[in-house]
Each structure stands twice: as structure tokens, then as C-alpha cells.
């Protein structure tokens, strides 16, 4: 009995040891970002390196924000993110309702195609879509980065919501139908209120994706006053390539909203990942 206990505690000790070691390894880059953002110029690339800034230069943050239109880019990004959240949650839930609770000819075939498109590599789509938006005169506007969100919100979000809607019992809707409620009313009064956790997951995914998107803004937004944080940071880096402390301060500010969101809603974010893999 004693032998077993000892074996068990050695095992637990090893697990804690390995996971603890790698936790430190995983946190170091983040720590390094914040630490660098607070360093005086002379300490940025010092050899040997310094773990902590001495003294911390909080003014770096003010300088970073002043050296490029940070707040403008912040609000541009916020605007795009809000529009995408609105479009994705609104239209993906409509479509998911159709796929889960309504019967129509071709439904299963189209759902099948939808699932297949979840795994299509984006590079095969981008050129014609770009040509289309160019011919519509939409390049250098926000439309190419917003309109697709209002066209169903993408296969993944539809799939995620459909899985959730299916778990809502049909009886709830049948009684409303007998009472003469329209499908839209059932959708709005019964399905949506029951689905807030799933809608929340879609919103979270959309926020993280839109906030971090680089390629879309890169090809569609040429006017610097329209840039998002991702593109704006790139411009900042090209201009101040040696000021790593200011760049890291701007980077930290860019990452901060997502880090806060993560600590508020990490379970929902992780759940989105597992749902996508088809695991309940």
C-alpha cells in the first residue's frame, strides 16, 4: 500500500513538474512583451539581458500612442469588430434555424456542402472575391470586411449554432405553431432567448478573428486613416523599427482587450474549439 502511494506521489510530482515548467516557458514571451514595453531605450537590447525594466518607463505607453494614430485605429478595429459580431450572430442564427428546425427541399445537401466549405483553404477564394469587390468599387471601403458577415456569417458559425438549436426540443415550437405564431416569431421569442450561450460563443470567435485579421485589411484598406490596429502596427513598425519598447507598448495595448475578454470568458472560447471538432 505504501509502495503504491509513493509511486502515485512521484507520478503527481512529475506531472506538476512538467506542466509547471512549461507554464513558465509559455508565459515568458508575454512577460517579455510587457517588460520590454516598459524599458528605457538603453535596456531594450542589452547584453546581458535585464528581466525587469529599471526604472519602468510608463511614459513609453504615452509615447507609443502619440507616435501613430493609435486611437483612430483602435476605433476602426472596434467598428469592424462590432459590425462583424452583429452580422455573424444575426445571419448565422437565421440560417442555423433553417438548417435545424425547418424542412425544405435540398436542405441536407446544402448543409453537407456547408460543412465541406469549413475546410476549404482560403487562398482559392480570395482572387475572384477581390475582383468582385474591385468591380463593385468597394476597395478602400469597409464593405468587403463587413458585407460577408451579413451573408450567413460563415460555415463554422452556422454549424456551431445549428448544433445548439438541434438540442432545443421541437415541442416548444410546436405549441407556438398551433397558437399561430409565425416562424420568425418562434425564432425570435423561443429560439434566440434559449441560445444566448451559443450566440455568445459565436460573438467571441468573431471578436478574436476580426480583431486579429491581417490579410483582409491589408488588401482592402489602402487609405491609412482607415487602417485597423493590425495594419497600423505594421506601419508603425516600419517607421520605428528600432524602438522595440514603443512597439511592444503598442502591441500590449492591442492585445489587452482580448486578454481581458479571455479572462472573462475563457470557458466559452475553449468550448467553441471543441464544438468545431464535433465533440460535444
Amino acid at each position: 500500500m505504501k509502495g503504491i502511494n509513493r509511486a502515485k506521489s512521484i507520478r503527481n510530482f512529475t506531472i506538476y513538474g512538467v506542466l509547471g515548467f512549461f507554464s513558465v516557458v509559455y508565459l515568458i514571451p508575454l512577460f517579455w512583451m510587457v517588460s520590454t514595453s516598459l524599458k528605457p531605450d538603453a535596456q531594450i537590447m542589452s547584453i546581458p539581458m535585464r528581466w525587469f525594466p529599471d526604472p519602468p518607463q510608463w511614459s513609453n505607453y504615452a509615447k507609443a500612442v502619440d507616435s501613430f494614430p493609435f486611437f483612430r485605429y483602435f476605433f476602426n478595429t472596434l467598428f469592424l469588430t462590432s459590425m462583424n459580431v452583429l452580422g455573424n450572430t444575426l445571419t448565422a442564427s437565421l440560417v442555423a434555424y433553417s438548417f435545424s428546425k425547418l424542412q425544405w427541399k435540398g436542405r441536407n445537401l446544402i448543409f453537407y456542402i456547408t460543412i465541406a466549405t469549413m475546410f476549404i483553404p482560403g487562398q482559392v477564394l480570395i482572387i475572384p472575391v477581390y475582383i468582385l469587390f474591385t468591380q463593385l468599387g468597394w476597395v478602400n471601403t469597409y464593405l468587403p470586411l463587413i458585407v460577408p458577415a451579413f451573408c450567413g456569417g460563415g460555415a463554422f458559425n452556422i454549424f456551431l449554432l445549428r448544433q445548439f438549436f438541434i438540442s432545443i426540443p421541437d415541442e416548444l415550437m410546436e405549441s407556438a405553431r398551433i397558437d399561430g405564431a409565425s416562424e420568425f416569431k418562434i425564432f425570435r421569442k423561443i429560439i434566440l432567448p434559449l441560445s444566448t450561450p451559443a450566440l455568445f460563443t459565436v460573438a467571441l470567435f468573431t471578436i478574436v478573428f476580426t480583431w486579429n485579421d491581417f490579410f483582409g485589411p491589408l488588401i482592402y484598406l489602402h487609405d491609412p486613416s482607415m487602417w485597423t490596429l493590425a495594419i497600423g502596427l505594421r506601419g508603425f513598425q516600419q517607421q520605428y523599427s528600432t524602438n522595440w519598447n514603443l512597439l511592444m507598448a503598442a502591441s500590449t495595448l492591442t492585445a489587452l482587450p482580448l486578454i481581458i475578454l479571455y479572462f472573462v470568458a475563457q470557458d466559452k472560447m475553449m468550448r467553441g474549439f471543441t464544438l468545431r471538432a464535433g465533440i460535444r
Binding site: S23, S46, I127, V208, F215, A230, L258
Partner: protein
């Protein structure tokens, strides 16, 4: 009666189509039509000023016989895809196994490992550029402490791709979380039965855990490969494709061809070849997609 029924079904159909309408538009305009349009464009020469000119297989001939840069980019992309995904799946599974042990505090570890997944990619790339600096970067200074002279990382044609793969491992959290959920789905009684039969931990791992989570391993591998095939910003931001084109990936080439040189036809041919390479993987994944159709 019959007419009433058909009217009922017509109305039902109509509601279905109306609710699905946004996606019927989105699916056709932003997915299905573009796939076909890319195929069509790949047989043309198109500069977005003059109308597309049909040139048959010329783009593909140039691609396969006269453009060594394409093969190089394809090789780089495969190197990155397989290197990054196999390492991520392998280490991700190990982490998930450790995290699934019913010990206290596992939640905290999970939180830490997943955190980099939500960080914005461009700031993360700047951060790693700084850490990869051969002389003053954090990584080589730490290696120096234990007496290892670190490589030139992003400045070296041999080490630039391994550096990017190393960076991609920071984003392993998504895979870990999926594995964790997969491991939870393995029914406990299988292990109990095996224990009664006197199986040891290693046997249980190979005979129960691995077969039961095979679909999850497969999912992580294939979606990982498809995602990694789209590697672009890493080279655009961190290396501009260098040094010596060692990080020129297919998508960087497509980007430069389409959006800098405006050679839409040739860029489309390249996209289509890459798509054809990835299609078998997508189809394989789709084959096991009963998982997605069920429940």
C-alpha cells in the same frame, strides 16, 4: 386535402429558403462561384485593366516547368505545414494527457496554455522577431546561459523555418483543448475493464486511448495542415520571404503575384494547384464527417 397539404409544404419550403437566404447568397457569392472563377482565371491572362484573355494551359506550363520559385515555395510550405502540425499534434496530445489527470490546479495550467491562442497575431510576430534576435534576443541569451551558442534563427536560411515552427508551438492551446474534450469522451468503463484484466497504463494508452481518440488526432492533423498551408503573415511581417527565399511560402507568392504584380491569371493557377493538393485531405476529413452530421 392534397392541395392543402402541398400548400402547407410550399409554405414550409418558403420559410426554410427565406431563413437560409443570407447563406444561400454568401455560399454562392463568396465560396462556390469563387472556386469556379479561380479555375477559369487560371486559364487566362488577366491584369484587371483589360478583359481576361484565354491562354489555355500556358500558366500551368510556366508554373510546372519554368518557375523554380514555385517549387521552392511549395517545398517551404510543406516543410512548415508538416513540421508545425506534427509537432503540435504530438506535444498537444502529451499536454492533454497530463492535463486530463484528475489533479488539483489543472485548470490554471489549461488557462495558461490556451492564452496565446487569443493574442493578436501581428503583435505576437513582432515579439518573436525581437526574441529571435541572434545576439541580443531572449532565446539566444537564455541558450547562452546553458552554454549553447544559438543559431541565427530568422537570419539563417536553415533556421528560419524551424524558428517559425517554434513560434507556432506557442499557439498549441486550441489543439490541447480539443484533445482534452476527446479524452473526456472515452468511456471510463473501458479503463476499468482493462484494469480488472491486469493491463498496465502503457497498454491502456495504446489499446484504449489511442484508438478511441484516433478521429480527434485525425481532425487536429488535417485541420492543422489546412490552416498551416495558409501561412502568410509570418513571412510577410517577419522575413519578407527571406533569407534566400527560405520562407517564401506559396501564399506569399500568390499575394505578390495577385496584389503587387496584378497577374491574376497566374496567381489563380497557383491557388488552384495548391487547392488540388489540399483537396484529398479535405475529402478525407469529410468522409469521417458523420461526426458533424450526427446529433
Amino acid at each position: 386535402m392534397g392541395r392543402k397539404r402541398s400548400k402547407y409544404f410550399r409554405r414550409k419550403n418558403l420559410a426554410g429558403y427565406l431563413f437560409a437566404a443570407p447563406w444561400l447568397i454568401g455560399l454562392s457569392a463568396f465560396v462556390l462561384a469563387p472556386i469556379l472563377a479561380t479555375l477559369f482565371l487560371s486559364f487566362t491572362s488577366y491584369d484587371m485593366i483589360n478583359a481576361p484573355r484565354w491562354i489555355g494551359l500556358t500558366n500551368y506550363k510556366i508554373l510546372f516547368t519554368l518557375d523554380p520559385g514555385f517549387w521552392k515555395a511549395l517545398g517551404n510550405t510543406f516543410y512548415y505545414m508538416f513540421g508545425s502540425v506534427f509537432l503540435k499534434v504530438f506535444t498537444g496530445l502529451i499536454f492533454a494527457l497530463l492535463l486530463s489527470s484528475a489533479l488539483k490546479g489543472m485548470r490554471i495550467f489549461r488557462t495558461i496554455y490556451f492564452l496565446p491562442v487569443v493574442l493578436p497575431s501581428i503583435p505576437v510576430m513582432f515579439l518573436w522577431m525581437m526574441m529571435f534576435n541572434p545576439r541580443s534576443g531572449l532565446i539566444n541569451q537564455l541558450l547562452g546561459f546553458i552554454g549553447i551558442k544559438g543559431p541565427l534563427w530568422l537570419n539563417s536560411p536553415q533556421w528560419s523555418k524551424p524558428a517559425m515552427i517554434l513560434m507556432s508551438l506557442w499557439g498549441i492551446g486550441g489543439i490541447i483543448v480539443i484533445f482534452l474534450a476527446g479524452l473526456q469522451d472515452v468511456p471510463e468503463y473501458l479503463y476499468e475493464a482493462a484494469e480488472l484484466d491486469g493491463a498496465n497504463k502503457l497498454q491502456m494508452f495504446w489499446r484504449i486511448t489511442v484508438p478511441m481518440i484516433m478521429p480527434v488526432i485525425f481532425f487536429n492533423t488535417v485541420t492543422g495542415l489546412i490552416a498551416a498551408s495558409q501561412v502568410f503573415a509570418e513571412s510577410y511581417i517577419m522575413t519578407a520571404g527571406g533569407p534566400l527565399e527560405s520562407t517564401t511560402f506559396v501564399n506569399l507568392k500568390i499575394y505578390l503575384l495577385a496584389f503587387k504584380d496584378v497577374r491574376m491569371g497566374y496567381a489563380s493557377a497557383m491557388s488552384w494547384v495548391m487547392f488540388m493538393i489540399l483537396v484529398p485531405m479535405t475529402v478525407l476529413l469529410f468522409r469521417i464527417s458523420r461526426r458533424w452530421m450526427d446529433y
